[in-house]
Symmetry: C2
């Protein structure tokens, strides 16, 4: 009795393969077009539409699964970032990694916001949010980051600047290779305590 993976318990091998293919195809399709249809996704997965509905009861639940999958992958990457040492440098490293994820999953996020029940997106973002919050809190205690604005606001600013960068790239006003540096520079300045000097 082989150990089954969570979520695919008891499924036959070919079914598990198809589920994985659907998940991958959905990530890809929704990454291009947040309004991608189930037909489109099924076709991209090399699978019949009926099969898709056999594994996911509705478009919304498929989207949820895709989102959970993406978050898990992201958490894995983010978990390897060294958050110790100087808070400013740690934040730079975290931004660098986060940015790649935001860039990749931008369109997927829009899809999720359009179809998932309100609050679900935030719910799934709880872990990555906590990571950022914790770092910011530490930075504040050590005097590296400002304390005159709520932590949640600072987290939001970081989030929005990153997503804004994706828009700028889309519009062709920023080249992808420069985005991370722009974001880091901007955020470090925004987080600097009033009266302190903005880092070089």
């Amino acid at each position: 009795m082989p150990v089954k993976q969570a979520g695919t318990t008891g499924k036959r091998a070919d079914a598990q393969r198809n589920i994985a293919a659907i998940l991958d195809a959905a990530t890809e399709c929704l990454g291009r077009d947040p309004a991608a249809s189930t037909s489109e996704i099924a076709k991209a997965a090399g699978v019949g539409r009926v099969t898709l509905y056999g594994h996911f009861p509705s478009r919304a639940e498929l989207l949820d699964a895709v989102f959970v999958h993406a978050i898990e992958g992201g958490e894995e990457a983010l978990g390897q970032v060294d958050l110790s040492g100087d808070p400013r440098e740690a934040l730079s490293r975290l931004i660098e990694s986060s940015w790649h994820l935001v860039d990749r999953y931008r369109s997927l996020l829009i899809a999720a916001q359009n179809t998932l029940p309100p609050g679900r997106v935030r719910e799934l973002h709880a872990d990555p949010m906590a990571r950022v919050e914790k770092l910011i809190e530490r930075g504040r205690k050590q005097g590296a980051f400002r304390k005159d604005l709520p932590t949640s606001w600072l987290v939001g600013v970081m989030h929005n600047v990153m997503h804004g960068a994706a828009d700028e790239i889309n519009a062709g006003r920023v080249t992808p290779d420069k985005a991370a540096a722009y974001i880091t520079t901007t955020i470090l300045a925004a987080f600097t305590p009033p009266g302190d000097r903005v880092p070089n």
Copy 2:
């Protein structure tokens, strides 16, 4: 032969009234729900759906007209802001006024982005953008704002922080009365030249 208003040239008086009512209703409906249907808008305007299509050939063209209308109103408000004197204080004033507009027309912008041809939104934003750019350029020359990031990026940051603030309010994490202050504080810090001190 009375002088006719632009856009309603030659229309009868009741038709002009209806066009205005549709425009207002559309602004209101799309401000609540970016996906508001033509039926919904027609009903809110106290007008038959056929009448609506009699004045606007398609949903997209109606949306365009609504957007143009909103921009014009915004431009009028923004035009009265005093942009002379200390660039930081001028920017604070501009943010204060811009924020009210962003807050009011947030949902409308989403609707426009979803249905108008790509680039059209930016096209219509050209004037307000130019106003911000001009102020930033002046601030840079006088040493008040940083020069190590492109002006277009700084404009984008301001834009995104404001829209992010609207999200925070939606999520209940920020109260509307504090938003303007948070935005101003954040942007002034982000715009501070490296090596300079962040204002109080």
